[in-house]
């Protein structure tokens, strides 16, 4: 009993999510089916990929708003190169490279210019969105090769390649964060930058790397998105970063830095996905959906906040 309570306290958000899952599985026709589960995994693959590394950047003490712009702009760069060379590999490389450069720009702004990460990445968002318009010449871009659509859509053991890539990225990011010295340094940098510096951690480099990894992950998510849509177009769309941030924060990773976990973010991604999937399957009126969604999120995070408190 004692142990059950302790478990519930540590894993508040997980317990809430499992509860939601069970309720939906019992009450909702079509929810707990192979196909629906596969769809949910596929739908969330892009958000998962970026959210893992967003978790890392936030644990290191930084926000990154520009992820939305990187997600929009990098697949345009990738398709530009793919169209020009006819090579899928070069296209992907160009997209990921563009992402890494964008991440490095963010990192420089934060560690060298010492600008608050929130505002720095807001400013670079404008730049990256603008880059997207320039690269695409304001039109929809489509891949030249047929292979591009297979990047995200190939089925391997019933799951899409996008799903497999997301699973691999989640595992990779978790291992990086929990099992390596770099991961330790990420926590240390966010928990107390001065203390970490005193202990010999190269905090600037740690932050730089988290920005580059995050932008690279957003680029990967964007490229997979362009494969699913077999096209990409420029926009000022912030909905991707919105989904990513919501997942990280609902998961309970502290925006103050130094605390949090990738399993929390992953759990929250599924909590939110189950919620809207449930709404869709239950045919809830969209207007009421907003109200219910707001309240359910509030309740879930209250429970998690309560469970995370020491002397609850």
């Amino acid at each position: 009993m004692q142990r059950t309570i302790l478990f519930a306290k540590t894993y508040g958000i997980l317990v809430v999510t499992v509860l939601l899952f069970v309720v939906l599985a019992l009450t909702t026709e079509g929810f707990f089916t192979d196909r629906n589960m596969r769809n949910i995994l596929d739908q969330q693959s892009g958000v998962l990929i970026a959210a893992c590394f967003m978790t890392m950047a936030i644990i290191a003490g930084n926000f990154d708003i520009s992820v939305g712009a990187v997600y929009v702009a990098t697949p345009l760069v990738a398709l530009l190169v793919e169209n020009a060379t006819g090579s899928i590999a070069l296209g992907i490389l160009a997209g990921l490279g563009a992402g890494a450069v964008m991440g490095a720009i963010n990192g420089i702004a934060v560690t060298r210019l010492k600008v608050n990460s929130f505002i720095a990445t807001l400013a670079t968002s404008f730049v990256f969105f603008g880059t997207g318009y320039l690269v695409s010449d304001r039109s929809i871009m489509r891949p030249e090769t047929d292979g591009w659509r297979d990047l995200a859509r190939t089925r391997i053991f019933e799951l899409t390649s996008a799903t497999w890539i997301a699973i691999a990225v989640v595992i990779l990011a978790s291992v990086l964060l929990t099992r390596t010295r770099f991961g330790r340094n990420v926590y240390a940098t966010g928990a107390n930058r001065e203390a970490a510096r005193l202990a010999g951690v190269a905090t600037d480099r740690v932050q730089m790397i988290t920005f580059v990894l995050l932008a690279g992950a957003a680029a990967l998510a964007g490229i997979l998105g362009s494969s699913r849509a077999i096209s990409a177009q420029p926009s000022d769309d912030f909905s991707f970063i919105f989904a990513v941030l919501t997942a990280v924060i609902v998961g309970g990773t502290s925006i103050a830095g130094g605390a949090g976990a990738i399993w929390r973010t992953v759990t929250a991604v599924f909590f939110l996905a189950f919620l809207s999937n449930g709404f869709n399957l239950h045919q809830i009126d969209p207007i009421w959906q907003r109200l219910i969604e707001g309240f359910v999120i509030l309740i879930a995070v209250s429970i998690d906040a309560w469970s995370q408190r020491r002397s609850g």
């Binding site: 769809n39 304001r138 909905s239 969209p286």
Partner: protein
């Protein structure tokens, strides 16, 4: 009910699309069709998920979609058609060609919309008549959001329609955004700083409402011809009162009705109706000015 139809709205919050929904519901009720609405909230990823959920649920006989990402939705729509679901495209292009109302995916039962490019040509057409006898005719062009493929297509149509009128020159551009008159107010105020006078302002109805407010404040109402696209109630009021020169008709109610009628037709008979431009059958190709305003009535509030 005989049939279940899913309606994937770009946004339940949109005043245009909710007008379409009203009409769809009327037709549906008369034909034993139940509609379930899904709210895309202007988030393309959310709409993709809804589309997959709709297909996976196996519950729906048909789906009507106002697509948020035209090219992006194609693969999932193909899958829906494979699964035997009847698909009707509403208001927004599904595919990447913004110059035609015709379906761009094989097997789509009907596509009811005004292609963005043709909104542009109609807008250009009204501008040509407004500029008749004025040389040079100085035009201010207000985009919704400049740079998006949608706005680019509208502008291309506008340029095409005005290409043969050398008297027309676009002297300034601005961004009105699509939400209410606020964007139009700021854009017009700023443009007035550089261009003390011009002859015509064109743009989305909502932005032109903002222009009207500013011109009234500046005492310039009547000196400048205002041309919108949207056919909203304020545009009609403006045309009747003489404050506006014209508007490209907007027919959310007709679109909704036609889409559901096409859906019912497809469900009951398997007929495909192809591309439907709701303005095509209207007087003067849906170009509303003081001359023909009495032959139209506004279908939405703006």
């Amino acid at each position: 009910q005989d049939y279940e139809v899913a309606y994937l709205s770009a946004s339940s919050a949109n005043t245009w699309l909710s007008r379409s929904l009203e009409e769809m519901e009327k037709v549906a009720a008369a034909n034993g069709v139940a509609i379930t609405e899904f709210d895309g909230q202007f988030d393309a990823a959310a709409q993709t998920a809804q589309l997959q959920d709709v297909i996976a649920s196996g519950r729906y006989d048909g789906l009507i979609i106002a697509a948020l990402n035209g090219p992006g939705a194609v693969p999932d729509i193909e899958m829906a058609i494979e699964e035997g679901i009847e698909v009707v495209v509403l208001n927004q292009v599904l595919g990447s060609d913004l110059t035609t109302s015709a379906p761009q995916v094989d097997g789509v039962a009907a596509s009811v919309m005004v292609a963005p490019y043709h909104s542009g040509t109609r807008l250009g057409g009204i501008t040509v008549s407004a500029c008749e006898g004025i040389d040079p005719c100085e035009v201010v062009y207000l985009y919704g959001i400049k740079g998006t493929p949608l706005d680019t297509a509208i502008r291309n149509g506008f340029d095409e329609a005005t290409a043969d009128s050398p008297n027309i020159t676009v002297v300034a551009e601005g961004e009105g955004k699509y939400l209410g008159p606020d964007g139009g107010i700021a854009a017009t105020q700023d443009i007035l700083q550089v261009n003390a006078s011009f002859d015509v302002v064109v743009g989305p109805d909502q932005a032109i409402q903002g222009t009207e407010i500013v011109l009234e404040d500046e005492g310039m109402l009547g000196d400048v011809k205002l041309i919108g696209f949207g056919g909203s109630a304020p545009a009609f009021e403006g045309i009747r009162s003489g404050a506006w020169y014209g508007t490209v008709m907007g027919a959310p109610a007709d679109e909704g009705r036609l889409a559901m009628e096409a859906m019912v037709d497809a469900l009951k008979t398997g007929n495909d109706q192809g591309g439907i431009d709701p303005l095509a059958a209207m007087p003067d190709d849906g170009k509303v000015t003081a001359d023909n305003v009495d032959q139209f009535s506004a279908q939405w509030d703006g």
